[in-house]
């Protein structure tokens, strides 16, 4: 049987203390954070704390490092937040921090691998995410994976001097697509 942590290009694994320098670099890089909620500079201490917090994996804290299968190179992070056992729902967050791996299908594969993990290993019923409406590239990826555009929150986020609309997207059991 195939590993539940492996997709076609990437593998999900627990975060480790030695990941800190890369996380620090990515999450202080404007090109990476412009599409995320991050807004203030992040310190080494905050990154260390984040890794310590996410090193105890479990139902309430499924937060992974993403590495390539080919070279075992760390390229980003992905995970669920606000996991609700009664609703069997969770909010997905993803960041491919290594820009040399953008546009190569790594983000798509990471999405599919985590969603499969959520449905098959955590018994989730619904996976939800939010994305800036103008981030068309990301919206395209999420639709390809099977997410439905469920609505748009008007002026929900203020960043870079203006209000931006935010899409809400959802994926239910049985909707995940691999092709």
């Amino acid at each position: 049987m195939d590993s539940p942590f492996e997709g076609r290009l990437v593998r999900l694994r627990a975060r480790e203390p030695e990941d800190e320098p890369l996380l620090f670099q990515w999450f202080n890089d404007h090109e990476v954070t412009q599409h995320l909620t991050i807004r203030y500079p992040l310190s080494h201490a905050q990154e260390k704390e984040f890794i310590e917090g996410s090193s105890r994996m479990g139902y309430n804290n499924p937060s992974f490092g993403v590495e390539t299968i080919a070279e075992s190179r760390l390229i980003g992070g992905v995970g669920f937040e606000q996991v609700s056992p009664e609703n069997r729902s969770a909010i997905l967050g993803i960041a491919i921090g290594d820009k040399t791996f953008w546009n190569g299908g790594y983000g798509t594969d990471t999405m599919r691998t985590l969603c499969r993990f959520g449905f098959e290993m955590m018994n989730l019923h619904r996976i939800e995410l939010e994305v800036y409406a103008e981030n068309e590239r990301a919206v395209h990826v999420y639709k390809k994976v099977g997410f439905h555009l469920e609505g748009t929150r008007r002026q929900a986020c203020f960043k870079f001097g203006r209000y931006q609309d935010v899409h809400v997207m959802g994926l239910l059991e049985g909707e995940l697509r691999w092709d």
């Binding site: 019923h125 619904r126 929150r153 002026q155 929900a156 209000y163 809400v168 959802g170």
Partner: protein, 175 residues
Amino acid sequence: MKSALEGELVRLRAREAEDEPFAHRWANDAEVIRWLGARYPAARALSAERIRDAAPRRELCVFSIDDIATQHTIGWLGLHGEAVEHRSASLGIALGEKAYWNGGYGTDAMRGACRFGFAMMNLNRILDVYPENEGAIRCYEKAGFVLEARMRDGMFKHGSYHDLIQMSLLTGELK
């Protein structure tokens, strides 16, 4: 000048220790909490803690709703979870006294909280997320709220999944 908290039917005010018995009864009334987030029975200690922590403030601005005509306390509502940079907050409301349902009291209270949010807290956006039910959607639309998203099967309660509806009101849209 009339206070933002003074409506046509109801007046909003800070919650007081005397409100605890009502609040506790409402929190355990199956009909009242049917479409709220509450799921487990509320212990008296929890109700007491909520009242103790109820001084209206920027982060958690909760009010008791008083009927102006009779001075009866009929429910509570609040603005919470403000995202400061986004000037956005969530609205939550529970009309605990069922005799006051469908009489425009909820809408009037909601308008008061929104007036206060825009005029006194300088919010730009007020939102609520709740399981789909016709009454609530109509009530919000009357106040000017716009339906923005339907999160399919977002909540499991009473034996089945229900869509969650997200509605919001921006500055200048209050009706």
